[in-house]
């Protein structure tokens, strides 16, 4: 998996992951895409979605913690 930077605020890692998912989806949806690449792309896209989910949860937890402490 491509290294995704984990920084606060406008997270370029998260954003990059989303962009990659969109790109992969477009590729998967394209009938011209060869079957050889398909499973690899699907796997990658699914992983990225999971990654984004996890990141989002982390951010949310972090912010919940901040809001509880204030």
């Amino acid at each position: 998996m491509k290294k995704i930077k984990d920084t606060a605020g406008e997270d370029p890692g998260y954003r990059e992951a989303l962009q990659e998912i969109e790109k992969l989806l477009a590729k998967i949806e394209d009938p011209e895409t060869s079957f050889d690449e398909l499973s690899k792309d699907v796997k990658r896209a699914t992983e990225l979605v999971e990654y984004c989910r996890k990141q989002l949860r982390n951010y949310k937890d972090e912010i919940d913690k901040i809001s509880q402490n204030n």
Binding site: L18, I21, E29, P31, S34, L38, R53, S67
Partner: protein, 395 residues
């Protein structure tokens, strides 16, 4: 010759005596000023009475008057209770007299009655004249126009060190309930009697010479009889108070009359104790004002803090609301992406029993691309079959 026709001194004096007494046998009420007075140990009272012609400064008439002890015993208490003073020099009196002539002592007026009401009236008249003069000279309100220091803590006092009034003043000033401290200095002066005005004025001069060191002058004297306090009606003293460079506070103990000294002072109070109260009150009022300001300041700051807190709370709420909205949107987006991914993935269709046909590695979606005899690959979920097309049917 001449000696035969002469008479003796005694015979002449007897002649004078009988002519005077025959001519002036009745008694007269006369007005005059006491220029000298002597109280004898025998109880008799001797006075020199004088009179001035209208508009003249010098004395125009003088006579000796005697009050015999038997009469004086009766007249004296009545006079003193009515006027509040004893007979003294400079006093205007109205007396009933009988003219007597003694060959040995000459002419004298024997007093049989004194009218104290006249003296009271004369003194009041004198007082009114003093007030009128001070007004005419523009001095009456002079001292009261001076501005009192906001916090007058350097106090010059004119009093007599033995006087109860001075002790009362100091005790009250130093033991005040608020714990204010003052810087005081006593300038001694006799506070009663004929020398009092001059002594007070001299003490005032000493204070005035160092006026930069003081904020105010207090003239303090405890209670006294009308006579004790008559000096506070003195013109010179009043004029000095009026023109004094510092505000003058008079605390001259008295019950009824207000003295001229009080009228021209910056502030008059009834007693030395009241004078101390007056000064303490100035400080207490100022302290009250400060406390009030402090309270206002505190309240303003509190209100301000509370406003800011509310603002911050609202901002915080907005932040978290914005964040949670953003999360919701992001989650939704991920959800959609996943759904799209799921439906777009042809591999998931294979699992349901469908298959994909490839020719030369490309997906075939129409039989038109295929001719009989061609080799195609049929991809299933768990593998692929390479098949030869035997027949082609168009739907």
């Amino acid at each position: 010759m001449r000696a035969e026709r002469s008479i003796t001194l005694l015979e002449l004096q007897e002649e004078i005596k009988s002519s005077i007494e025959a001519r002036l046998e009745r008694s007269y009420w006369i007005r005059g000023e006491i220029s000298e007075i002597k109280y004898q140990s025998t109880g008799h009272c001797y006075m020199d009475l004088v009179d001035r012609r209208e508009g003249e400064n010098g004395i125009s008439a003088r006579a000796q008057a005697i009050v015999w002890s038997s009469v004086f015993r009766m007249l004296r208490p009545y006079f003193e209770t009515t006027t509040g003073q004893e007979l003294s020099r400079g006093m205007q009196i109205l007396v009933q007299v009988q003219v007597q002539y003694s060959p040995l002592y000459g002419l004298s007026l024997v007093v049989s009655d004194i009218d104290p009401a006249f003296t009271v009236g004369e003194q009041e008249l004198q007082r009114q004249q003093t007030i009128k003069r001070l007004r005419e000279e523009g001095m009456f309100d002079m001292n009261s126009t001076l501005e009192l220091a906001l916090l007058p803590r350097r106090v010059a006092i004119i009093s007599s060190v033995q006087a109860a009034g001075y002790r009362d003043f100091m005790k009250h000033l130093t033991n005040n309930e608020y714990g204010f401290t003052f810087q005081t200095e006593l300038f001694q002066a006799a506070m009663q009697g004929t020398t009092a005005p001059a002594e007070i004025i001299s003490a005032m001069d000493s204070v005035a010479a160092r006026s930069g060191e003081f904020d105010m002058l207090v003239i303090a004297r405890g209670g006294g009889s009308v006579q004790d306090l008559i000096c506070f009606d003195d013109y010179e003293l009043a004029a000095n108070i009026a023109q004094f460079p510092l505000p003058v506070i008079t605390g001259i103990g008295h019950d009824h009359d207000i003295h001229v000294a009080d009228m021209v002072a910056h502030t008059m109070v009834k007693t030395p104790t009241a004078a101390a109260d007056f000064i303490i009150e100035l400080f207490a009022r100022e302290e009250q004002q400060l406390l009030y300001l402090l309270q206002r300041l505190r309240m303003t700051v509190q209100a301000r803090i509370s406003d800011e807190n509310t603002r911050i709370e609202m901002l915080k709420r907005d932040i978290f609301k914005g964040v949670s909205d953003k999360f919701r949107i992001a989650e939704h987006r991920l959800e959609l992406l996943q759904q799209r991914l799921r439906s777009a993935n042809p591999l998931s269709i294979l699992e349901k029993g469908y298959s994909v046909t490839l020719c030369d590695g490309k997906r075939i979606s129409s039989v038109a691309d295929i001719r009989e005899g061609m080799i195609v690959r049929v991809v299933l979920s768990d593998g692929a079959l390479d098949c030869k097309v035997e027949n082609r049917t168009e739907l």
